[in-house]
């Protein structure tokens, strides 16, 4: 029987459209200080550190060089995972389960505001021979997928717009969020087209911010904090990077990650055992597609359930009560850490005005963004 892994501390900056007063180091230092205080540990107590980042989002080759100082990890075991924040958590989880490490830290941040041509960087992830030479705005990938998903699921553009409305409204209760607001579907539907049927308001706007998470093996976690939040299961998967080979309607990577996480957590049907979820919504329709992939909605049913209020803040299974990426701002690889920190806050009963009543088990799901088919899923609980 494997000893469990728990999250014992979280620290986050606010998420902002720009953050000109702080360098990435200073921004991350703030999140780290908060996380260590929350966990009641100092950096010297930590055995291993994992940072997530991508060179081209930082404008630095081998960005790993610049990660240790601001998290107190200089001359310590640190490594970078070029993956999303939840994959970083998986790396820490695996290390703790080897039995060689007691306490681990995961860090992620976004300084998207410092990238002057984000669409060019996103386009740089496209296949250099087959796709990039088309010289399209890379969001076309989301446009193609949205059209196919809507067709196969029977969901409508209005349903996707309803996701935007829900999440940005939810963000009004999140003091960290960058883009809270009260909108109606009409606003979304009449926003300028990006890559039809994708419209401007369907796309989560980027934001800056940093999040640090402290994890520990269960016996250590119990000593450190009153309320550890356990990782009952975690999974991650890669589908195909090839756009030509893809199933354009299904988020297969999320299905595979969910299967792995549920197997580990011994959960057969997430829709029965999960109380709330933080689901990637980098694009509005993705929330619907991902909800079906993680089995919180039957295939083709997510939109109807959304319409019924099932996923509202006061619904059966609140989804993105934090505001998601649409409401908080899209933090790229750090988005998943933002979602994880929200899950922890909720499971500790500390989410104030946006607290999910009786929250015991949360499903957190991440996607690495265009043009990848990569993501992870974690199932967290407070018992």
């Amino acid at each position: 029987m494997q000893e469990r892994v728990a999250i014992v501390g979280i620290g986050s900056t606010a998420f902002r459209s720009i953050s000109p007063d702080v360098s990435f180091r200073e921004m991350t230092y703030e999140a780290a200080v908060k996380a260590y205080a929350d966990a009641g540990v100092e950096p010297k107590d930590v055995d291993t550190f994992v940072c997530v980042s991508e060179d081209y989002m930082e404008g630095t080759a081998i960005f790993d060089e610049y990660v240790p100082d601001q998290i107190g990890a200089a001359l310590r075991p640190v490594h970078t995972i070029a993956g999303d924040g939840l994959t970083g958590i998986a790396a820490a989880f695996l290390q703790l389960q080897t039995g060689e490490f007691d306490i681990a830290v995961v860090e992620g941040h976004s300084k998207a505001s410092n990238v002057r041509h984000l669409s060019h960087i996103e386009a740089f992830a496209l296949d250099p021979v087959m796709t990039r030479p088309l010289a399209l705005n890379p969001r076309f990938v989301a446009g193609l997928e949205m059209r196919r998903y809507l067709q196969e699921s029977g969901a409508s553009e209005e349903d996707a717009a309803a996701v935007v409305v829900k999440n940005r409204e939810n963000a009004l209760k999140n003091p960290l969020a960058a883009y809270p607001g009260r909108f109606c579907a009409h606003h979304v539907m009449s926003s300028p087209a990006v890559a039809e049927p994708l419209k401007k308001m369907d796309v989560a706007a980027p934001a800056d911010g940093a999040i640090v998470v402290v994890l520990a093996r269960e016996c250590v976690a119990r000593r450190l904090v009153e309320q550890p939040v356990y990782i009952q299961g975690i999974g991650w998967a890669q589908d195909t990077p090839d756009l030509d080979m893809r199933d354009w309607s299904r988020a297969t990577y999320a299905q595979l990650a969910t299967a792995m996480a549920c197997r580990m957590a011994k959960i057969k049907d997430p829709s029965r055992e999960v109380d709330f979820a933080e689901i990637d919504d980098a694009f509005s329709y993705k929330e619907l597609q991902h909800l079906e992939a993680v089995m919180l909605a039957a295939p083709g049913q997510a939109a109807a359930m959304l319409r019924d209020g099932y996923f509202d803040a006061d619904g059966e299974i609140p989804v993105n009560v934090s505001g998601g990426s649409l409401g908080n701002g899209f933090l790229y690889d750090a988005a998943a850490l933002r979602a994880t920190a929200e899950a922890v806050t909720q499971l500790r009963g500390l989410a104030g005005g946006r607290q999910v009543k009786g929250a015991e088990t949360c499903l957190v799901q991440s996607w690495r963004g265009i043009p990848t088919a990569a993501g992870a899923v974690a199932i967290l609980s407070n018992h």
Binding site: T60, I62, V78, I81, A82, G99, T252
Partner: protein, 390 residues
């Protein structure tokens, strides 16, 4: 001493090291992975997870290149993760794979390391410009070689080491590389100390024959749990210890003469392996040699030689293939090539083959039961170490 769920290496594969490969990065991954799987007698369906290591995305010219390479590396519909610690990535790859299997959650992990440096124009070296601090350093017209030359000079000055002595590393490794089937064309050879010292000055004290070349290649390893190892092979090579440490990014506030981060990484691995006297308990070492002086610098960091003593061991022939502590019997990066992340796996594969007695013409003379592979990376910052044993 020891860790819970033992992990073994049961297969290894490499592509040729080339200045310019026809293969795409994905194809290089596939070829190395296929060879590794074949040598382990396994297929992709037997693999539970994939640990990929590849260094700057700028080389292949793809942002998020981990995802781009995934299908070539067997990551299709599998748990696939990419680690990235600069030049240290190739040996970190096995540490990364180790914690997958040692966690108890996976039985078989495919470790793949790839680098395709040739796509960058006008020259791959240009992509390294961005490793430096954007405010303090890039505006100075800096190039990659500066920081190595600054470190090499500091090391030479502190210990009174000559260029001629350092050139012995180039001589040894380029000669050793003649026996490596994957060595890059034009890289191995029989050189004299004079030829090395008199070769074109790049950034003094670094001369052309003291620098490893730019390369395209991939390497792969198959890691399995003890349970599977016992079923699949009669000579598993156990991972006895792993270690890694990253120093502060403020490299101009550190004394470059000694790589503390390599020492700390080594100590982490030695502790796990129960090694108390590395000089006698390590029988063969593949030490990271992107520049000739680095083999000596790192040898001291690994506690295989006292500070300032590595040159003396080199001069005495201790680190030759027929010496008491052979170093880089493969030919190292100086003798085989330097496709950043794949170099580390080349070194791990060498230790694997040496421990199994399968290194052919490169087999060291002394009996070997325990070997070490080490890589370095970032701004004179990261040490990654793995200790293998039979």
């Amino acid at each position: 001493m020891g860790y819970k769920n033992r992990v073994a290496v049961i297969g290894a594969g490499l592509t040729k090291f080339m200045r310019r490969a026809q293969e795409t990065g994905k194809e290089l991954c596939f070829e190395a992975a296929r060879l590794a799987l074949d040598s382990a007698g396994l297929e992709m369906k037997d693999i539970d997870c994939v640990a990929m290591a590849t260094a700057p995305d700028a080389f292949d010219g793809v942002h998020m290149k981990g995802e781009y390479l995934a299908d070539g590396a067997g990551g299709f519909r599998k748990p696939y993760m990419r680690s990235y610690v600069g030049g240290g990535s190739g040996v970190f790859a096995i540490n990364h794979g180790w914690y997958h299997v040692a966690s108890g959650h996976f039985d078989a992990c495919l470790v793949v390391a790839e680098e395709k440096m040739s796509p960058v124009m006008p020259h791959p070296q240009a992509a390294f410009n961005a490793i430096y601090d954007q405010i303090m350093e890039r505006p100075l017209g800096v190039n990659l070689l500066w920081i190595f030359a600054l470190e090499m000079n500091r090391y030479m000055q502190v210990h009174g080491i000559s260029q001629e002595t350092i050139a012995l590393v180039s001589v040894k490794n380029k000669k050793n590389g003649l026996d490596h089937p994957c060595a890059q064309a034009g890289i191995p050879g029989n050189y004299t100390v004079k030829e090395v010292v008199d070769s074109e000055i790049m950034v003094w004290p670094v001369t052309r024959l003291m620098v490893s070349p730019v390369s395209d290649a991939a390497g792969a390893l198959v890691l399995v749990s003890e349970r599977l190892a016992r079923r699949l092979t009669d000579k598993p090579v156990w991972i006895e210890g792993v270690g890694w440490h990253l120093d502060t990014s403020y490299w101009t506030n550190r004394d470059l003469y000694y790589p503390k981060y390599v020492e700390y990484a080594a100590r982490m691995a030695y502790r796990m392996a129960g090694i108390t006297d590395p000089k006698t308990e390590i029988h063969v070492a593949e030490i990271y040699d992107p520049f000739a002086y680095k083999e000596l610098h790192h040898m001291e960091g690994l506690l295989l030689a006292d500070k300032g003593e590595a040159p003396k061991l080199l001069e005495k022939g201790v680190t030759q293939r027929d010496g008491a502590l052979p170093v880089c019997p493969s030919g190292g990066l100086m003798g085989v090539g330097n496709p950043i992340a794949a170099s580390g796996v080349m070194k791990l594969a060498e230790i694997y083959w040496q421990l199994r007695g399968e290194a052919g013409a490169r087999q060291v003379s002394r009996p070997v039961r325990r070997g070490l592979a080490q890589a370095w990376g970032d701004l004179m910052q990261v040490g990654t170490v793995a200790i293998l044993g039979v």
